[in-house]
Point group: C2
Chain length 221, copies 2
DNA sequence: CTAGTAATCAACTAATCTATTGAATAGTTA
DNA sequence: TAACTATTCAATAGATTAGTTGATTACTAG
């Protein structure tokens, strides 16, 4: 039964693509949308050459596609099934790898008070004008796609923004995904100032994948 | 942002567990239920020591648990989320790794005529007595759990069984999972004899995970 | 045509992973 | 207690992988 052996070896190619932390980080970032090699290298903190090599491995595993435009090469996730796979991986890691639980609990602070608000609920409440949706990712990421009606305030501009905010307005913050720390940070800071703030469940990629309404624009801070 | 780095490194531990074909094979087999190290080693065609080591890696990644009973150690999948993860991995590999498509097409023959029958549909038709459900896995695997009402005929007994079969009875065969070749084989042979036969969608682990009715018994061929 | 930029390639070292071997451990049976 | 079995452990050689460096390619702009 050599067929069986070959088949599992092929499945393992996809597994191998997931076996490196840097590649997972690149994938998570790509899950938000198309990115150039340079962008990816700075976010992940890798050299350009190294990033390029990782991206090629991901491409060979069929997980990303690339497109050349002028000097730049843009990579993107090759399908929604990749996001499903990443979520399944995350779920397993969270449930079973005790170190992950430890990390999440240690760094992401006061867990219970930061319970995320489900996507469906948020959409309703935002439509009713009950909450302001806050996108704390950098401006470029916001521009390339965000939750409908969301306001973009990158973390470094948060303090300034808080000042001119109606203290009674409830805020729901989101960023790149369930483990992106930006939204946690923002919520913590807003709460310090006495503002009612919560995190959105997961992040932009999941919102988009769930088929909920998004916008693409250039509007900044 | 060292937290981010650590977190992805932890996720990669799960990815690493999936990065080897032999481990994936062990997992697929474990998805059917509890197995001893020896059983696993023979199915995967590995030495006992090597199997033991792979299993320990899977345990460190939190994907399997073990239980000692007398001389034997029994391993099992640590949760349904592992099956979800395996399915997501398979889906990605099938969709994006062209070699997998090639292998499946080459070995699993006459693709279109072997379209699988969905689980829900099968359950209905089996209940109505319209089809006979055929479990072509070895007797021990059948004994440790099978689709309700299924008849166990290991592949080697198939020819004998065909002889005493009503040619008008429709057969639906299943085995270990979507890529288990046993069911393909059985369907091909049944069709040769002019019997209406199809494969069930996926295999026993998926049936069980879907919450559909199962039986545990000793009844054999 | 030249200079400059984004990405890839090629070569290399250090680190990690795989499978094998033989010994050690834990539990059973006589 | 001694012999036996199932599993694990420890050491090892060979293969694979990760990241660095410097050169090369493909393209743009002057």
């Amino acid at each position: 039964m050599d067929f069986k052996h070959d088949l599992f070896a092929q499945f393992a190619r996809v597994g191998k693509a997931l076996s490196n932390g840097n590649r997972l980080e690149l994938l998570e970032f790509l899950a938000q949308g198309e990115r150039s090699v340079e962008q990816l290298s700075t976010v992940a903190g890798l050299t350009v050459a190294n990033t390029s090599q990782h991206l090629q491995q991901l491409r060979h595993a069929g997980m990303v596609t690339s497109r050349k435009e002028g000097l730049k090469v843009y990579y993107s996730i090759s399908g929604d099934d990749i996001i499903t796979l990443l979520n399944a991986l995350r779920a397993v890691a969270e449930r079973h790898v005790t170190d992950v639980q430890h990390l999440v609990n240690t760094y992401l602070t006061v867990k219970d008070s930061l319970e995320p608000i489900p996507r469906a609920e948020l959409l309703e409440r935002a439509r009713a004008g009950l909450v302001t949706v806050l996108d704390v990712r950098p401006a470029e990421e916001y521009a390339s796609g965000h939750v409908i009606g969301a306001v973009n305030v990158p973390l470094k501009n948060l303090e300034k923004w808080i000042k001119k905010l109606d203290k009674n307005q409830e805020i729901v913050a989101y960023c790149r995904g369930p483990h992106c720390v930006l939204a946690f940070d923002a919520v913590a800071r807003l709460r310090e100032k006495g503002i009612k703030a919560r995190r959105m469940q997961d992040g932009y990629p999941e919102w988009k994948t769930a088929g909920l309404p998004v916008e693409v624009s250039q509007s900044g801070t």
